[in-house]
Symmetry: C2
Subunit: 150 residues, 2 copies
DNA sequence: GTCAAGAAGTTCTGTTTTCAACCATCTCAG
DNA sequence: CTGAGATGGTTGAAAACAGAACTTCTTGAC
């Protein structure tokens, strides 16, 4: 609880900062150069592909991808233009709308996923021992849970 | 080396994604609401404050903050407008220039640092045991080193 | 019923980021 | 020397983002 960070803590903190930005950057770059998709595109395709009927309400999608409503709305605009998703109106709640995966979007995901997973492996998973990676996962889970609940 | 992620790996990977975006987001938000600084502003102030003469060459600063040259240049424009830094010409290499901390910039950092460190503690360091945090740091260091060398 | 309060999405405005083009300077082979 | 190529940095236009304002619809109290 002391006011400053110790040298060790400082190192750990900076390593975290560096790893998180470099990794995100590298993965997005590879995804984009190999498949023309941004990280945000990809994440949305994944969520939709895992949903019933391959579609989700905008606000659920925003919550699950940690994006603001505004950002998601623009994002979906672009993906509609690219043919990856469509908007569907919601009959139960006429304010609402769905984003739904198109066949093109599904195909794009199927194309990209193996390469993306390989990237994640080569830059993260395989750099660590299984124990290290599991411990990293548990620590991140704690941090993430804490941030969500507050 | 198998092509897919196991359920456990998947969980760890998503925990990482979630923790890294939520944490960055939260820290930037607190920094901005408490002190009117963006995360990028803050990081630059820190680097400059730690440098000899409280100034750095643009390209060194870009490398150390993991930003593109272009982004840094725009960023420094804004910080010059805000009075936090100034540009200084470089006499050894007349193509080059320095970004140098102003007194205002120094003061802004001194004001912000304790709160920022407290945020880092409360959302990351104190959420984990010292061992967990140290392990996290070591793992991140490995990942980051690997990404830098390739 | 009706109206206030709130929720779902979109849109608007201003800011930040990216990418490519650009200028100036330096380096060094010939 | 000289000029080709590399390096340091800036610029401008287009894309992406955040936050607030706005529209439409739903809900619940009365």
């Amino acid at each position: 609880m002391s006011g400053w960070l110790s040298p060790d803590e400082q190192r750990s903190w900076r390593a975290w900062l560096s790893a998180s930005t470099l990794l995100a950057d590298r993965l997005n770059r590879e995804l984009h150069s190999q498949h023309g998709l941004t990280g945000a595109d990809y994440e949305i395709l994944v969520r939709l592909s895992e949903s019933a009927d391959r579609r989700m309400r905008m606000s659920d999608l925003a919550a699950s991808t940690l994006a603001s409503r505004s950002r998601l709305s623009h994002q979906i605009d672009r993906m509609v233009d690219a043919g990856l998703v469509t908007r569907e109106t919601c009959s139960e709640d006429r304010r609402g709308s769905f984003a739904a995966l198109t066949d093109t979007g599904w195909d794009a995901l199927v194309q990209a996923a193996p390469d993306h997973v390989a990237s994640v492996r080569s830059h993260l998973v395989d750099v660590l021992t299984p124990e290290e990676f599991a411990a990293l996962g548990r620590a991140c889970q704690k941090v993430s849970d804490r941030l969500k609940e507050q």
